[in-house]
Amino acid sequence: MKDFIIPWDDDRDLGTPAKTGAPVTLSVDGVEVTVPAGTSVMRAAALAGIGVPKLCATDSLEAFGSCRLCVVEIEGRRGTPASCTTPVAPGMVVRTQSEKVKKIRRGVMELYISDHPLDCLTCAANGDCELQDMAGAVGLRDVRYEAPENAALANHVTPRNTSGEANPLWQAKDESNPYFTYDPSKCIVCNRCVRACEEVQGTFALTIEGRGFDSRVKAGGPLDDFLSSDCVSCGACVQACPTATLQEKSVIELGTPERSVITTCAYCGVGCSFKAELNGDELVRMVPHKHGEANRGHSCVKGRFAWGYASHPDRILHPMIRDSIDEPWREVSWEEAIGFAAARLRGLQEKHGRKSIGVITSSRCTNEETFLVQKLARGVFLNNNTDTCARVCHSPTGYGLGQAFGTSAGTQNFDSVEQSDVVLVIGANPTDGHPVFGSRLKKRLRQGAKLIVIDPRRIDLVKTPHVEAAHHLALRPGTNVAVVTAMAHVIVTEGLYDEAFIRERCDWDEFQEYAAFVSDPRHAPEAVEALTGVPAEELRATARTFATGGNGAIYYGLGVTEHSQGSTTVMGIANLAMLTGNIGREGVGVNPLRGQNNVQGSCDMGSFPHELPGYRHVKNADVRAIFEQAWGVEIDPEPGLRINNMLDAATSGQFKGLYCQGEDILQSDPDTRHVAAGLAAMECVIVHDLFLNETANYAHVFLPGSTFLEKDGTFTNAERRINRVRRVMAPRNGYADWEITQLLANAMGAGWSYAHPSEIMAEIAATTPGFANVNYEMLEERGSVQWPCNDDTPDGSPIMHVDGFVRGKGRFMITEYVATEERTGPRFPLLLTTGRILSQYNVGAQTRRTENTVWHQEDVLEIHPHDAETRGITEGDWVKLASRSGETSLRATLTDRVSPGVVYTTFHHPGTQANVITTDFSDWATNCPEYKVTAVQVSPSNGPTAWQEDYEDRARRARRVLPAAE
């Protein structure tokens, strides 16, 4: 028998997907091969090293059996079955080559080619076309079809016939999508694109229109093109298309790539693996990597297409400094910029004390870079003033899950969803925020798993083709704890909890207290209905579905954390999972969907002011000793300042200098005016970023950053998976970000000498138990690994808490609902909640600098038609959005996705300044800002507010750059 271990970077197309049945042995062309039952003959042959010609089959999609190119002969069976749709059987004897099948294949190819343009040499897919390959493979030598006498040969290829009349079968190219084209003349109607859109992406945007010879692929309805259809531009169809029919515009422009490097998307917390395909050091396209364990060969529009920002003219490539923020920027050498920054920071420390400066690490940078930035604070500034933007998104996850389970990370891998029976999505919008996970979830839902959505807004998942939520609880923003506790009330009082699990895995006494607490009638769905707006019967039904539906998995996002009771809701979610025994195996678990690509990593790497890498509090002398020994310094045992404390301390004159890497705190943090005042009060703000972001308006030093394409390192995604980021081209700014931090540290006397990020990872592994066995050689070999990865779990940990909780016994926490102080009243009667959309990413600094803007040119305010009507607002009107903190203007759109009383917007565009309105209320435990609830009023307006115009004007002035000196 042959050895079938496939190295993880072998990405041959095996024709049909893998199956998992019992082993079956058969023979293909005399080669014996053993495969799982259910495998197709085509795949078995491919595994035996024998390629059967094929067109309509590809291993990302179920077999379809339409082209008949893959016919084979099977001993004892009549005819010539299609190998892609024929499952293997024990003892089967298959022949893939015979005169008979060769003849059939040539006939099939002849038919295809007779209706295909013969412009191979100038076609964008030349060299990368399966039709071309197959014509070669079957030995096609001539095409004998001829036009009938007195008539042209019917085809889709020529716009006009020989006498100049328009050919009704011919259709023009559709170039409406900014990233790919559809050329109907090249379509072989293999249906791969349609199936990719259904099976892989789950959008169902494509259909085959017409029948037989007339059939063509169609996006959306009769009047649609790709752009106006439901297509979300994920590119799955482009990848699946065997011909140039669906083709990346970048390939049309730049030619087919000749080399590829495997790397990781730098947008969201799904952490998709990609092959960056290049010519020399010019990026041609990004193709999701089939063996990427987070994405399994799929991606969304951002990762696949939105990388143009890396070469956008706005990108700053030279360091700049200025003495004060009303001066224009001066371009200087790296040496001068670093020297200027180091001298200022040291000067501030001398004058105002050790604790007068700090850092903000980035959730967009690599683990290695983040580790260095916090090390800069702890080992060089000698304080714990380090924080990260994860503060403003998932800090409650850290606290809440830490309390309940003993560690602050998601419990599952993404594959786990394939085993879930009931999926509870709360305060998250996976199809927009975590699109590839969204697609994987939808796939499971189409197979019959039930969906529960708890969200004030009707997110797409609630109803999308072939998916419909069993329950959607459209609660009032700010009442998560009440709803989650009411669910627990139903589960406990109706006796639906998993007693065996709780007795074995949790603290029984704590459970008793908890059970008594939730059983109190004041937590009954009927009692909280008026508060939450959720009908009691619906809430009861939801709780029953979750508790009794089989494997129950919870996925949550910022709609849970960004509240004044964010941490409490996280604990409530952990309670629900423990109550129902849904922890510690596949298909269940508690899964925070992280926002940015490396939120998980930036938290792991000790970015918070109270904890060293690996979530260990700075008060622990034994932990400090590890780092003190490694770094040769004394580590401050007291927690340092958090972002908002830094800003407060700046306003009151104690905090003076900030090194901010890869974050735009002015745009992403709440209460913009407060942030601006804090920044303006500092004497040395160093912004290290790709673009002159909004924060840079208040900066004295600008250090140009490198993109993920230009450096080595690792990102850790929402499933704790450590993925490699690989340098595919030299940094256009001269240095990778970790090198820049090192330059700054050394200019302050640190004496660091890292030559490669792998050396930083070695230091992380040596100091952080969960990373003990992680190193670059291992990642090279395995592709990725999920922490903890150490001597106890040398292969990493796809699922956590399998045999017991990290903290020993799982802990039930009492979750009392406390109303936020942010209340509606006569002046501010509506509740604003915020979110994001698919095509834009976070503050949008990158995506706004790509063609993705065709899908989202501005932030708009969603308002219910009733609320709009009483205010005299109609679709597309400019409206003023005001809260206690401030006001801004944007356009309104009327929709019943939001309930009456609730309005919704995104925060991708700086012009909108949605955070001018958000308040400085925050989570009780972590001070994660309460972005998701702000009392507002909406009224008609006629354009941008004075603040917005004023802001624009100041921003323009702050961005002036002096021409470089001769």
């Binding site: 002011p609 927690p639 300042l641 301390a649 009392e816 406390v818 009780w924």
Partner: protein, 68 residues
């Protein structure tokens, strides 16, 4: 930091621990403040309380003050 904010944040923490079972809520408030607030903020809170404003503070915060 503005005293209002400081008081609000401290009281928010106390509110959570009020709801927790056991006799050691004040200790747990103190523990939380020590774990997550830097020494400067804790000092500010103490000074604020000493200035005779301690009636703004939740009873648990008041009881926690000597422990932080």
């Amino acid at each position: 930091m503005s005293p209002d904010k400081l008081v609000r944040m401290a009281n928010q923490i106390a509110t959570f621990f009020h709801s927790q079972p056991g006799q050691d809520q004040a200790e747990r408030v103190a523990g939380h403040l020590k774990d997550f607030w830097g020494p400067e903020m804790r000092e500010e809170l103490k000074v604020y309380a000493q200035k005779g404003h301690d009636k703004d503070l939740d009873v648990l915060v008041r009881r926690a003050l000597p422990m932080i």
